[in-house]
Symmetry: none
Subunit: 526 residues, 2 copies
């Protein structure tokens, strides 16, 4: 079995996608999860382009990664300068990553028309930049931008740029179909040429403009590429990068290449959905392998056949990629998912308990809940199902009032009435908005009983429409991320009313914190 290395650029090229935006915290969370999945390289960002990426490279050094190497991305030196004095290369090396990836121009057209220099100077820019970084003690990958278009225009020159990178010490040379316009048989042919001409490893980087990114990636690997670059769910500009989910699943299941690590494939569905949550994007239900509909069967004939033998309308067992068959139009999790999700809890894992949890989860999923990024809320559901839940407080009522004059800021006031520790607490607070006012009133009522709530703060707040067709009357799902000194946890609430959905997520967040402190457990400790 040939090993194919997976190079994830969700955090860099993926974030070029329209509507994709990761906070620093999101980037760190996704890095951790990609490492768990067994990805070989994680391209974390482009340090020169913005301060958030530079901050990421400082913060990521504290993450205890098990397998993946973090890579910083940058460009070749500016024309007519020296690598030593180049600001971009300086910023790149300041990322202090074990590997850097440098992108350069392969296409004669790009060199003369876009960056406006000579073909010779461009070759020097590549060689100098790679050699300089190599001399600073880091491994260098070289991204040959527009390789396939450049090769078509001027094959000798395109190969010359690759050889300059190789001579400079690049260990892997990645052929990029930057504009996504190349056909699979051409990709195969050109990769085979590069394979013959070079000694370095060859990588492939495809875009999906012709809906052929997966086919092109597979064709390149079959022609000799041993590194695949792409993004989770195919995030990326225009039509996106190649979707690593599909690339990985096809390489492993259909061609028997060695990718990721043993057991990783079963986590593809979970990691795909986690990436959507972090990017605050909706899942694509028809997404191959991991989509909610990927193994959904509608219509009597197919459903019947699938009941007789699933292979009749399924190309693989959905469990291979952590997905599930769905017979009815529903979003139901299966008992096996619940079993694997509750492994870490000290509870009975008998059939009856699992069924009880499953029922609760299914009821909530049916109205729009998602637990991928809401382990705090899932924890509370498990406690309720097995009978270890106790309410820390009870809501009697709340009220929120927002008054907006013609101009200026609105005034928001929330009152909260709770039963806690046998007493009734009735508090009021103003806030910047309804959720902030509710949060303040809630804390005012509770902190005297539970002083450690002071350690807790909210780090992120996301809202998503569950049934978008209803416009502003749609149900919304609020996901809140909270943290204390040790942990970060997500909670979720769903309602037609955004304030009520926020309340549900807020009160789960507080209860999770109180249970956690009582049990003396931390999430990361599990």
């Amino acid at each position: 079995m040939t090993r194919v290395a997976i190079y994830d650029t969700t955090l860099r090229d993926g974030s070029q996608g329209e509507g994709v935006n990761f906070s620093l915290q999101d980037k760190l969370l996704l890095t951790k999860r990609l490492d768990d999945l067994g990805v070989d390289y994680i391209e974390g960002g482009y340090p020169l382009s913005n301060p958030k990426d530079a901050e990421y490279f400082r913060a990521v050094r504290d993450l205890p990664l098990k397998h993946a190497k973090v890579v910083a991305f940058g460009m070749t030196r500016r024309k007519n300068g020296s690598a030593e004095s180049d600001g971009g290369l300086k910023a790149l090396l300041e990322g202090k990553t074990p590997i850097v990836t440098i992108v350069g121009k392969t296409s004669a057209f790009q060199v003369t028309e876009i960056i406006g220099t000579t073909l010779e100077e461009n070759v020097k820019m590549i060689g100098d930049s790679v050699a300089y970084c190599r001399g600073q003690g880091v491994e260098v990958f070289y991204d040959a931008e527009h390789f396939f278009d450049g090769y078509k225009l001027n094959p000798e020159y395109a190969l010359q740029t690759l050889k300059a990178a190789e001579a400079g010490g690049a260990t892997c040379i990645i052929l990029c179909d930057t504009n996504g316009g190349t056909m699979p048989e051409r990709v195969a042919e050109v990769v085979a040429v590069a394979r013959r001409e070079l000694k370095a490893d060859i990588g492939i980087h495809c875009h999906n403009d012709c809906e052929l990114a997966v086919a092109n990636t597979l064709a390149a690997v079959r022609a000799g590429a041993t590194q695949v670059q792409g993004t989770m769910n195919g995030f990326g500009e225009r039509c996106g990068n190649v979707d690593l989910v599909s690339a990985i699943a096809n390489l492993a299941i259909k061609y028997d290449y060695e990718v990721l690590k043993p057991g990783s494939l079963q986590r593809l569905t979970e990691v795909s959905r986690y990436a959507y949550e972090l990017a605050n994007m909706n899942f694509r239900s028809g997404q191959p392998f991991v989509g909610l509909s990927a193994f959904a069967h509608k219509g009597g004939m197919h459903t019947h056949a699938v009941a007789k033998n699933p292979a009749s309308y399924e190309h693989i067992d959905p469990a291979l990629v952590g997905n599930e068959r769905r017979i009815l139009v529903s979003e139901l999790s299966g008992q096996s998912t619940i079993l694997s999700k509750t492994q870490k809890y000290q509870i009975a894992h008998d059939k009856a308990t699992m069924a009880k949890i499953l029922n609760q989860v299914q009821d909530l999923e049916n109205v729009g809940y998602e637990f991928e990024a809401a382990e705090g809320s899932f924890d509370i559901i498990v406690k309720k199902a097995v009978g270890t839940y106790k309410p820390w407080f009870q809501r009697l009522a709340y009220r929120v009032n927002i008054e907006q004059p013609a101009t200026g800021k609105p005034i928001t006031e929330a009152t909260v009435k709770l039963s806690v520790g046998g007493s009734t607490e009735h508090t009021v607070s103003e806030g910047d908005g309804p959720v902030n006012a509710l949060d303040a009133a809630l804390r005012k009522a509770l902190v005297q009983y539970f002083p450690r709530l002071d350690e807790m703060q909210l780090v992120d707040y996301k809202v998503r429409v569950v049934n978008p067709k209803e416009g502003t009357a749609a149900r919304v799902r609020v996901v809140i991320e909270s943290r204390d000194h040790q942990d970060v946890w997500g909670t979720v609430g769903v309602s037609e009313n955004i304030v009520e959905a926020s309340w549900l997520a807020l009160s789960d967040a507080i209860e999770y914190k109180l249970f956690k402190d009582e049990e003396g457990t931390t999430k990361n400790g599990n």
Copy 2:
């Protein structure tokens, strides 16, 4: 140039997709539009399966189609019966279409395991059914279900079923990758075998379960298939059928096959969006060729290069498929972005005006605005900067009140006070949540002045925290997507108060609609 016939099954196989539902009227409208596009065959439905499809075949005879032939879909006769007395074949012929497509089993596994008959009887079912329909004076296409899986299992038997259909008189034999699990090089190899063994035309029918439907379709055509079956936008069960949009664009532009009719390609974007609208589904912005983001450019470097020469980051001219280039206004935007972004406006493009717009955009971006998905709001900023903006209404005040008892749903009431057309309007409305209540009260106040607001509906609502470190006191960005019969537009609002941010996005959405109608422009028309 070899001609490839396009067989559209959006109305039959496409409607098996989760969430896809066409009314009879929708089906007739789409038939007309597909005929205008130059599709060769339109599979209208499965008469036996439901009364709506039978009704469709009656109604479609009255449509004045210019080019396309309408096809009815059915199965081979039941096992151990006769074709003459088969209810399914009777229903099929009652469609009175010039062509019928009959689907049958190719796979020995499917024959014995799923339909439970002998291999011999299945071959007879195919031959009898085709010959009977042929004898009734209609042309017959034969869909070989599970052909690639069946061929793998038992190649001789799979070919025998095709030959039975050919002997019965089928003029085109369509090889189906029903489960979507076959790899492109295998498709090419097996199609080439069938091409050698048969005299009839060969068609290809792919599903997208491995994200390879387009690649498989192209491979089949290059191996000798001359009919391509698929659906608009890849609608269909599980991961969908092959997207005809991508298949057609690649065949015509990348391989120079003759498809559809002259001038058709430029209508692909319009027809794709029309199909989404009829199916009541949201556009997929990253869809190859026709998606809103397919030719969108973000990030200074790319934007700069595209301004110099579009070919630098575009594989084809978007106008070829009726799409357009979009320069996204992102954090990285500079004056060149603003210049290209405002090319379509009838305004002075001098330095002073550009600087004025850029300043406004940057000020707003600094407090958390993003205009990537908010062209409606960007349009209003341009109007304000160049002095063509006029307010359609003025806010005097609003108030929102949410009352939540211990259990049950909260009650939400919004009041809105506006100055509009010289009068003061003061309205109140309840809603499912604060934004819904505000939206309702706003419309109540405005619709008597601007009746066309009734055409407008909200399709999506997204919320994102701008500065997450502040928790619930953070500023939030609300992005709303609205649509009318012709256009979809995004608007944005930012505030520490989610209700105020929603108000800002809502009122921009309404103003954009009013300006657009006044100017008689549609976004697609530019």
